[in-house]
Structures are given as structure tokens and as C-alpha cells.
């Protein structure tokens, strides 16, 4: 029994136990106030499914040795174009969702592959270069959104006939298609089954890929490049696979995020998307050198539940909206911790 406890403890890790305990305390506190605990947990479930794929996207990039993928906005923008093309044609429901994915995925492959060519040349500085490549693309795309040839009046500014709006609603097209699919209510809890199933499917596919032959080869490349060369593996090719996969997951992640959130926020909307995802995978137990699907899943569950539950509970105790600031402090603190922990590495 003692062995088993210690095994669980070491597998799960102290930080995660502390966060879980803190979460439990918050939920108990919430039960004491007029807040509805099932309501909070339902919100948490939606946010887990909504953000989960971004966090999954961190796994292949870390495993391939490219570190945390701060260039996530690249994939997000591919997803955005997919959503916009689908909305431009006023496609509804699952069809709209599917078309958005069909456009987003090839774009993600192209963007991710080009991005990986760059990252292969700057090995060792991927995180810093990635951050600013992401920022530049977001800023550059702002110009594109202004001049893009979209014609649907629901998308563009009413005056001038050109330029996409800052915030678009998906309510009339495919907002909530996954969330409402097989939606069940249990003990006051609303479960977005479709959303969670889709997330679980992707997590499973990624898990399967990491166990396949190319997945294992990618891990070797990331873990020990010299050994990989000695074994005849093409380092750059496998790094490209990891980075491209990460970008494609980000693209799919955006389509899922947008349909769940119900709005698409263009322009500077995707600027900081990488940071909460990076923080979540680190909270889940990953490092800049090693990440498993398990880390991504645990991370997003803990991080998003923490944010969803902490906000209303603290609002009961202190005035004002603290959630945004809490997110900034927790996520950046976590990233800072991870960056200072690895010694002797040459990653930046």
C-alpha cells in the first residue's frame, strides 16, 4: 500500500498535488458561498476542451527537441483562415466545422513546414525566435485582415466594403456544434460530450503517433541528436515532423476553440495564445526537454479548472476581476520556473 502511494506520488509529482489540493479547497469554499459548484465545473469542462488541443500541440515540438512551441500563433492563424473561409460561405453546423478544418489543416502543414525550416537553422534558440516569429506573423496578418478579399457582409465592416471586423460571432454558423453534440446533463453538470470526445480522439491519435516508429525516432532526435545521427536518423527531417505536427494541432485547436468560444477574435487576438498553453503543459509535469500526452492532459485540466474556479471564488472574497492577472502571474511564473530549472542545456 505504502509503495503504491509513493508510486502515485512520484508519478504525479508534488506541484500537481499542491495544485490539486488548492483546487479542492477552492471548490469547498465555493460550496460554502452562493456559487453553484456544478455550474463552475461545467464551465471548467468547456474550457478544458476549448484549450486542450493547444496544449497537446506543445508535445510533438518538445519531443522533437525544438522546445516549447512559442510560435503557436502561426498555427492559430492557419486555423483562423479556415474558420473565415467557412464563414465567408455561410456554412452551418458540422459541415461548416468540417470545411474549416479541411482548409485549416493543409495551411497548417505548409506554415508548419516552412516554420520548421527556419527553426532547424536556429537550433538552440527556437523558443526566442519562435516567440518573435509568432508576434511578427500576427502583426503582419493584421494588414492582411484589413485588405483580405472577403465579401460576406457578416464578416466585413459595414462601411467601405473592405476589411474584416475585429470580433466575429459564430452563433449563426457553426458556433457550439461540437459542444452541443451529445450534450448531457448529469447532477446539474452540463457535459460538452462532443467537444471532449474530439479532444480525447486527438490526444489518443497523438499518443499513438508517439508510440509509432516515426514517433520514437523523433523522440531520439530530440533527446540525443548525436546518438540520432550515429543511428542514421535525419535530424532535420524528424524535427520538421514534430514542428509541423505541432502547428497543425494549433490550427485544429483554433477551429475547436472558436466554435466553443462562439467568437473569432482577429487582429491582435492570437498574439499571446502560446503562453497559457506553454504554462499548462509545464504545470502538467513537462519540461523544456520532455513532454508526454499525459502531461498535456493533466496540465490543461489543472490549469483551466484553476482559472475557472478561482475567478468567481476570489470575486466573492475580494472585489474586482482578478482572473486575468492571476493567469498572467501563474502562467509566466510557471514558465520562468521551467526556464531556470534546466541546467547545462543550450536551448533558449
Amino acid at each position: 500500500m505504502k509503495d503504491r502511494v509513493s508510486k502515485v506520488y512520484h508519478g504525479f509529482g508534488l506541484p500537481r498535488l499542491i495544485i490539486s489540493a488548492f483546487l479542492l479547497t477552492l471548490i469547498i469554499v465555493a460550496a460554502g458561498t452562493e456559487l453553484s459548484v456544478p455550474g463552475l465545473l461545467s464551465d471548467a469542462l468547456v474550457r478544458i476542451g476549448q484549450n486542450g488541443i493547444y496544449v497537446l500541440a506543445m508535445v510533438p515540438s518538445i519531443q522533437a527537441g525544438a522546445g516549447l512551441n512559442f510560435g503557436l500563433p502561426l498555427g492559430v492563424i492557419a486555423g483562423m483562415v479556415g474558420v473565415l473561409v467557412s464563414m465567408e460561405n455561410s456554412l452551418l453546423g458540422l459541415g461548416g466545422f468540417a470545411v474549416a478544418l479541411l482548409v485549416a489543416i493543409p495551411l497548417g502543414v505548409v506554415a508548419g513546414y516552412l516554420y520548421s525550416l527556419l527553426l532547424n537553422r536556429v537550433a538552440g534558440q527556437e523558443m526566442m525566435v519562435g516567440t518573435y516569429v509568432g508576434f511578427s506573423i500576427v502583426a503582419g496578418m493584421c494588414i492582411f485582415w484589413l485588405m483580405a478579399p472577403f465579401k460576406n457582409p457578416a464578416l466585413i465592416w459595414p462601411v467601405g466594403g473592405q476589411g474584416l471586423r475585429v470580433t466575429l460571432t459564430l452563433a449563426d454558423t457553426f458556433g457550439g456544434t461540437l459542444n452541443n453534440f451529445l450534450n448531457v446533463k448529469l447532477f446539474g453538470l452540463t457535459i460538452p460530450t462532443g467537444l471532449l470526445l474530439f479532444y480525447a480522439l486527438l490526444a489518443f491519435l497523438l499518443w499513438l503517433f508517439l508510440r509509432s516508429k516515426p514517433g520514437v525516432a523523433m523522440e531520439v532526435v530530440g533527446r540525443n541528436p548525436r546518438f540520432a545521427v550515429a543511428s542514421g536518423l535525419n535530424i532535420n527531417a524528424y524535427r520538421s515532423v514534430g514542428i509541423t505536427l505541432s502547428t497543425v494541432l494549433a490550427a485544429v485547436g483554433y477551429v475547436v476553440y472558436a466554435q466553443s468560444f462562439g467568437f473569432a477574435q482577429l487582429y491582435n487576438g492570437p498574439l499571446m495564445t502560446a503562453f497559457p498553453a506553454v504554462a499548462a503543459v509545464l504545470i502538467g509535469g513537462a519540461s523544456t526537454r520532455e513532454a508526454k500526452v499525459r502531461h498535456a492532459v493533466i496540465g490543461v485540466v489543472l490549469f483551466q479548472t484553476l482559472l475557472t474556479v478561482a475567478m468567481p471564488v476570489t470575486n466573492q472574497l475580494i472585489e474586482g476581476n482578478i482572473s486575468e492577472i492571476a493567469r498572467v502571474i501563474v502562467s509566466n511564473g510557471m514558465i520562468l520556473y521551467a526556464l531556470t530549472r534546466v541546467t547545462g542545456g543550450e536551448q533558449a
Binding site: 494588414i143 542545456g345 533558449a348
Partner: protein, 359 residues
């Protein structure tokens, strides 16, 4: 001929941007007096902050995205000085004095953290800036007025916790700039502010002639050799960040006395990005930065900033395109410089690895 070629290739970035700026000025088609006024104002405002980046670059720590911490120290001092109603140039000097110990503290902490993240200084300093910003917001948006008693109608709205979004800095507005101004057309040239900037430039130049300055250079060139030569590399690295942070605190105070209002929660956010973009546009790199590059870069970056909206209006029929374009340039130049640095670093690393093998 080869000399000309070398000068051109060494200064490729500033030359390219000078061309872009000239095109911008041409298409913007704004009166010369307007441009001069804007550029003089912005040079006076920003040069000090850009200069504060030089020391860590020379000490081998790359671009210090953590000058945000210095800017925060400056802002905290300004908030307190507004509360105590310090006024005039004496008040501003006292504010700078008050900011110094705060900046030393922040800089020391930052330096210690960065010593734990060698080779990853830039991303760490950037995340540290975000983190410090979160803590700052937590203190001034939540703790002030709840846990920290603070009642001053100039700074707070009594009905909700936290400071006002914008704080009027009436008592110190322009006190440095207006000591002595020379009028040229519409342009008021703040002589004293430029003297302060010149003084800092000279001080940085002189500093690198001292023993400590030479040590910084040695640490920047090769940490290993420097430590073998008996230089305390870790201590020197912390010192470099402390200097940079203190200078950034003063720089932010100069910046804000020129603007005259403090945007409590976002005056400092872009400090690092814009100062770094300016430095890089001047032709600096992650490992090399000079005073001339800093000043040249500040000039070019702000010319671009001023003309972008009007040029965008002329070329694309939309001022917004120009506004997004200048942000794109700021981020893009940083991305390109970082990539080029890493690219070169990688090929150097490869060369040394091959040497290892042959030896």
C-alpha cells in the same frame, strides 16, 4: 572597393531602414516642420531607454527584455512622488533617486534569475517582464486600497480598489524638457534633456574604459576564459543587469515627464519591444551594440513610426495599414535579428565542434 563593400554590408540594416524611411517620408507627404517636431520630441523621450540596453549586450547577456522591470521601478517611484506631491525639477530628481534602490533590487533579482538560465537569457528576461507586470498589476489594481491603505483622490477612485487607469503627472510634466528650450519654427528643442542623454552616452563610453567595463567585455566575449582569468563572471552579469535596470528606471521617468500622463497599467508594456527594435534597426545585434547604433536606431525607428500612418493612407488608402505595418516592423526586425544571431551561432558552434574532432 572592398572597403566600401564592407561598410555597406556591415551597415546593411540601417541603410535598408533609411531607404524605407525615405520612401515613407516621401509618400507621407507631411510638412518638414511637422516631421522635425515629432522626431525631436520622440528622440528626447526614447533615447535614454534605448541606451540602457547597451551594457547587457556587451556583457554577453543579449537583449535585455527585462528593462520592463526598470520601467516599473520608475513608475512606482512616480506614483509615490505624485502621492507626496513632489513638484518641479527637484521633485523629478528626487523621484529618480527614489526609483534607484527599487531598480537595484529588481535588477539584482533579475540578474540572479538570469544566472540560472545561461544561454536562455533573452526568453527568460522576456517572461520575467510579463511576470513582473502581473505582480505590479496585482499590487496596484488589487492590494492598493484594500490591504494597503492609500487614499488620494488624484490616484484613486474611492469606490473601487486599485489606482486610476491614468494618473495626471501635472507636477512633473515637462519639468526636465522645459528648463531650457530652443525654438526652431514650431519645434521646441529640449536642450537639457538632450544634454542628459549625451551625458549618459559619454558615461557609457567612459565606463567601458574602466576596469569593470573591460571585465564586462571579457565576460561577454567568453565566459569561460574570463573566469579562468579571475573575473567573477556571475557577479559581473548581475551587475550588468542592475546597471541596465537602473538606467531603464531613469529612462522611463524621463519618458513619462515628457508625456505628462501615466497609463498606470500599460505605459511600460511595450518598453522592451520598442527599445530593442530601435537598437536593432540601428544595426546592433545580439552580441554587439554601440552608442551610435542606439541613437541612429532610435532616430530611424521613430521616423518610421511617425510617417507610417500617413504613408499607409497614401499607398493603401488606409492609415491603419501603416499603423499595423510599424508594429510588424518592430516585431519583424527582432525576429530577423534573433534568427540571424542563432543561425550564425549555430554555424560557429559547428565549426568549433569540427575543430574538436580534428584535435
Amino acid at each position: 572597393m572592398s572597403k566600401v563593400k564592407r561598410i555597406l554590408s556591415r551597415n546593411a540594416v540601417p541603410i535598408l531602414f533609411a531607404i524605407v524611411c525615405l520612401l515613407g517620408v516621401f509618400y507621407a507627404n507631411r510638412p518638414f516642420q511637422f516631421l522635425l517636431m515629432e522626431i525631436v520630441k520622440r528622440m528626447a523621450r526614447n533615447s535614454f531607454l534605448v541606451l540602457s540596453l547597451i551594457i547587457p549586450v556587451v556583457a554577453g547577456m543579449g537583449l535585455n527584455f527585462g528593462i520592463v522591470l526598470g520601467a516599473l521601478a520608475g513608475q512606482i517611484a512616480l506614483i509615490l512622488s505624485t502621492h507626496w506631491e513632489w513638484a518641479g525639477i527637484g521633485g523629478l530628481a528626487l523621484t529618480a533617486l527614489l526609483a534607484t534602490p527599487l531598480a537595484v533590487l529588481f535588477g539584482t533579482l533579475a540578474g540572479l534569475v538570469l544566472n540560472k538560465a545561461k544561454g536562455r537569457e533573452m526568453i527568460t528576461s522576456m517572461v520575467m517582464g510579463f511576470f513582473a507586470n502581473g505582480v505590479y498589476q496585482f499590487i496596484f489594481l488589487f492590494l492598493v486600497g484594500t490591504l494597503i491603505p492609500f487614499d488620494n483622490p488624484a490616484l484613486r477612485i474611492s469606490t473601487s480598489p486599485g489606482l486610476r487607469n491614468t494618473v495626471d503627472l501635472t507636477r512633473v510634466r515637462g519639468v526636465l524638457d522645459n528648463i531650457w528650450t530652443v525654438q526652431y519654427g514650431f519645434t521646441k528643442i529640449p536642450i537639457v534633456t538632450f544634454l542628459v542623454i549625451a551625458l549618459l552616452a559619454v558615461a557609457i563610453w567612459a565606463f567601458f574604459k574602466t576596469k569593470l567595463g573591460q571585465d564586462f567585455r571579457a565576460v561577454g566575449q567568453d565566459r569561460h576564459i574570463a573566469s579562468v582569468a579571475g573575473i567573477q563572471t556571475d557577479r559581473n552579469r548581475v551587475l550588468a543587469i542592475v546597471f541596465s535596470t537602473v538606467l531603464a528606471a531613469w529612462g522611463q521617468i524621463i519618458f513619462l515627464q515628457n508625456i505628462g500622463t501615466l497609463n498606470t497599467y500599460n505605459s511600460h508594456e511595450q518598453v522592451g519591444t520598442f527599445a530593442i527594435a530601435a537598437l536593432l534597426i540601428g544595426g546592433a545585434s545580439v552580441t554587439r551594440a554601440t552608442i551610435g547604433q542606439a541613437l541612429m536606431g532610435t532616430f530611424l525607428f521613430h521616423v518610421l513610426f511617425v510617417v507610417s500612418p500617413s504613408a499607409g493612407q497614401t499607398i493603401f488608402g488606409s492609415a491603419q495599414v501603416g499603423e499595423y505595418f510599424r508594429v510588424f516592423v518592430a516585431y519583424g526586425i527582432i525576429a530577423i535579428s534573433l534568427a540571424l544571431h542563432a543561425w550564425r551561432g549555430k554555424s560557429l558552434g559547428k565549426a568549433s565542434m569540427e575543430e574538436d574532432v580534428s584535435a
